[in-house]
């Protein structure tokens, strides 16, 4: 990482999830980009309020599953039929029915890996540090607080945004700056 870029956000806490969702909706309608909400559990209508496209996790999972299936089938066929064909109990060298359980298991395993690592990758996790953590009050985001963040050019005045948020019912508004990821 070369030069440190400092980014700033305006953070606003709302009393209820409903207030947060509607505030987000309205701020987005006002044209704010790159907003994010923070809540201890998923918000109803939160994704829509943020205007997020459908998640790509299912496709990653499908890809993982298919990879697993192909891997399993090739692996078993290669090992038991092609590379070292042995007469095992008079069973056919290519005993496809016997390949099924492992094919299934590996499909599931790879799909699960796809989901897990897909989730982490799409969320850019693990990310132990985030500028939002600079605010002590923000700690409530994981327990009982409902927060909205709006990116804001570093060093400029955020009063306008703050006011708009207060108007939408924010109980607490602050600005944080921190090193971008």
């Amino acid at each position: 990482m070369e030069a440190k870029v400092l980014d700033s956000w305006v953070l606003a806490e709302f009393a209820t999830p409903e207030a947060l969702v509607s505030a987000t909706q309205q701020m987005r309608e006002k044209g704010f980009q790159g907003m994010d909400t923070y809540s201890p559990y998923p918000l109803h209508g939160g994704s829509e309020a943020l205007g997020l496209p459908p998640s790509r996790v299912p496709f990653i999972a499908l890809g993982g599953g298919l990879t697993g299936m192909v891997t399993a089938l090739t692996m078993q066929t290669w090992m038991n039929t092609i590379d070292y064909p042995l007469n095992v109990g008079g069973r056919p060298l290519l005993s496809l029915p016997a390949w099924v359980p492992i094919t299934f298991e590996l499909s599931v395993l790879f799909a699960a890996f796809g989901i897990f690592f897909g989730l982490l990758g799409l969320s850019k996790l693990p990310q132990p540090y985030h500028p939002a953590f600079e605010s002590e009050e923000f700690r409530s985001a994981s327990t009982h607080g409902y927060w909205l963040s709006i990116p804001h050019p570093t060093g400029t005045d955020a009063a306008d945004v703050k006011n708009q948020l207060t108007a939408l019912g924010a109980t607490h508004v602050t600005v944080v700056s921190g090193e971008n990821e």
Binding site: Y84, G121, P126, Q127, E181
Partner: protein, 208 residues
Amino acid sequence: MSRLSAAMLLAVPAIAIGGLLAYVRSPLVTNQARPVEQPIEFDHRHHAGDEQIDCRYCHWTVEKSPSAGIPSTTVCMSCHAQVWNKSPYLTEVRKAFFADQPIPWVRVHNLPDFVYFNHSIHVGKGVGCATCHGRVDQMGAIEQSAPLTMSWCLDCHRNPGPNLRPPEFITSMTWAPPADKAEASALAETLLKEYDVHSRTSCSTCHR
């Protein structure tokens, strides 16, 4: 940062596993390329190389027994009673002979006890000494030249042709298959037929 750490997370086990797989194939594990010191400094370079003594002169059971045979002290003395019979190099040999005490040679090619390798059939079916033992005539102290792993055995047992040589060259240290590919495979075909050699990969071929 996070990407790097994530990559590390995945790379470390991959490298570890890959490294282990490479390690067990390395001479560190197979014991290749380690000249072994013997109780008596016997030099194959001299006997097999310079003097061109046929392998079978000393390893005389190679054609009729599973074991190629470690020559008895008498075999040593059959020549060295006449030549170099005062050489200080051979003091130990003479001592062993006259005291009727065996010489404890160190085993170089050590297969596990559950592997039954039979020299007579390999030699009888056209596998040359040098194929497995390497250029013994160039080794001061004998070292293991082939990995002697099971997959190495299997390579030849699955496709014996390329490792066969005509009967008259079994003990030759210098024989090499024809450089021309077509010629080599034609020779392999002929030898397979002549020796009546088949691929044998059943477990009991070697494990009993």
